[in-house]
């Protein structure tokens, strides 16, 4: 498979791991070097390929808040379920949002109770359902970072051009850089650098991370998703730390440039505007961190078309997703991990999506941080 297999070579991985070990030993610190991988896709790949176990003990990976399903607060889930339960509505959603628990139940349970909820792979599929069901209102649950926001925006523009009147979006798109700034403001989290999200960066480019390097003095390396991509990015972060540099570097240059994707950014700019405040599960209210539909597109905005509770709801008392999303706690340290909270019956969102840190730990059996030092001949 082109652009996949070349980046999975075990021999090259061993060399990178040895290089990471050697360079990290040059950095004077009595604690492990803490590197946060922001993106849930990276978290998933790290566990799938067992990269955490291969790294030397001098490196600690901290799993960040980059899973769009995990950071969806319970109140917004309740709103989505309330929308889905309105008469005459077909509610469409990506599959990984179906099992996220709201305060009473999930979209999947609402579907079992009779709501017309349909899983789609693309917002364009939702638009197609609207075209085929002109007597119904079709609502798309728009979630995700800047990776998915352009596809939602382009679908809205398509709906406008096709003059579709029974289609709207429940917009919950979020922005990655304000979330990183919120994390950096937390004194509990002593991070040394970031492995930056690759697919978000295909849209926004590398330039928006400059603030993290310059104001917060943390290296950021935008990374691809294959094992060698991630190891090379960790190597690049550690190299920056050893050389006392704080820069934004781009490991994923085959897909990411500094300015991002102009068409995607233009579509987002036309359809969305930044919300003054948006609530994140675990992180609370973060200013300027979410997107909403512009008033010109109110006819496609489910928040303008329908009424729903719109209430903030606290997380389940026993669930510690918040601490895990902030990177101050490992999934296995949560008291309900693997007992009351399992993928089949998740209490918290991090156990739902395959990109969630808890689900990744659970699926791949990484229940302890105890690791063997890697041996390289």
């Amino acid at each position: 498979m082109k652009y996949i297999n070349e980046f999975r070579d075990p021999q090259k991985a061993q060399i990178l791991i040895e290089q990471i070990r050697q360079i990290s030993q040059q950095i004077a610190t009595d604690k492990p070097i803490k590197i946060m991988e922001v993106c849930g896709g990276h978290t998933h790949a790290i566990f799938k390929y067992g990269l955490e176990d291969l790294l030397p003990k001098t490196i600690e990976l901290v799993h960040g808040p980059g899973c769009p399903v995990c950071i969806m607060p319970r109140g917004r889930l309740d709103d989505a379920i309330a929308l889905a339960q309105q008469p005459n509505v077909i509610f469409t959603t990506f599959g990984d949002a179906m099992r996220v628990p709201g305060s009473k139940y999930s979209l999947l349970q609402a579907k079992a109770n009779g709501a017309d909820i349909r899983m789609v792979y693309s917002p364009l599929d939702a638009l197609q359902i609207a075209k085929q069901n002109s007597d119904k209102e079709v609502v798309f649950f728009a979630i995700g970072f800047e990776t998915t926001a352009p596809s939602t925006a382009l679908t809205t523009l398509q709906a406008e051009s096709d003059r579709i009147q029974n289609f709207s979006l429940f917009c919950n798109h979020v922005l990655v850089v304000p979330a990183l700034e919120a994390l950096l403001a937390n004194p509990d989290l002593q991070l040394n650098g970031f492995v930056g999200p690759g697919h978000v960066s295909t849209v926004i480019g590398t330039e928006p991370y400059r603030i993290i390097a310059e104001r917060y003095h943390k290296p950021v390396v935008v990374s691809g998703f294959e094992p060698l991509d991630i190891l090379q990015s960790i190597w690049m972060v550690v190299k920056q730390l050893a050389e006392k540099r704080c820069e934004v570097e781009n490991q994923y240059s085959r897909l990411v440039n500094s300015a991002g994707n102009a068409v995607a950014l233009d579509a987002m700019q036309r359809v969305f505007e930044v919300r003054e405040m948006f609530e994140w599960r675990g992180l609370g209210d973060i200013p300027l961190s979410g997107l909403k539909m512009r008033s010109e597109y109110a006819c496609f905005d489910a928040e303008a078309k329908f009424t729903f509770p719109g209430k903030q709801v606290a997380d389940h008392k026993a669930c510690q997703c918040g601490e895990i999303l902030k990177g101050v706690m490992k999934p296995w340290q949560c008291k309900v991990f693997g007992t009351a909270c399992v993928p089949e019956h998740p209490l918290g969102a991090c156990m739902v999506s395959s990109e969630g840190a808890c689900a990744a730990y659970y699926k791949y059996g990484r229940l302890s941080i105890e690791r063997e030092e890697v041996k390289v001949n």
Partner: protein
Amino acid sequence: MCLGIPGQIIEITDIKNKLATVDISGVKRQVNIACIVDDTHPVESCLGDWVLVHVGFAMQRIDPDEAAETLKLLEELAEIQESLTISN
């Protein structure tokens, strides 16, 4: 949900709506290619391109030269490591 997959554009199916068929590891999917089209890269020129597909959209064209450059850097790192091992 954020997982993107590389695939190759094998057919332009609708020039006006910017739709193409993409071969993703043997699976053929209809994909919107609006994000990779501009004045310098019209729809017709996208045939054969490798792209990253995400939720039904081609989000970016994969740059073969940059991919080769990344792999070359890794090769060089392997050579450096080998010379270090020998000198040790």
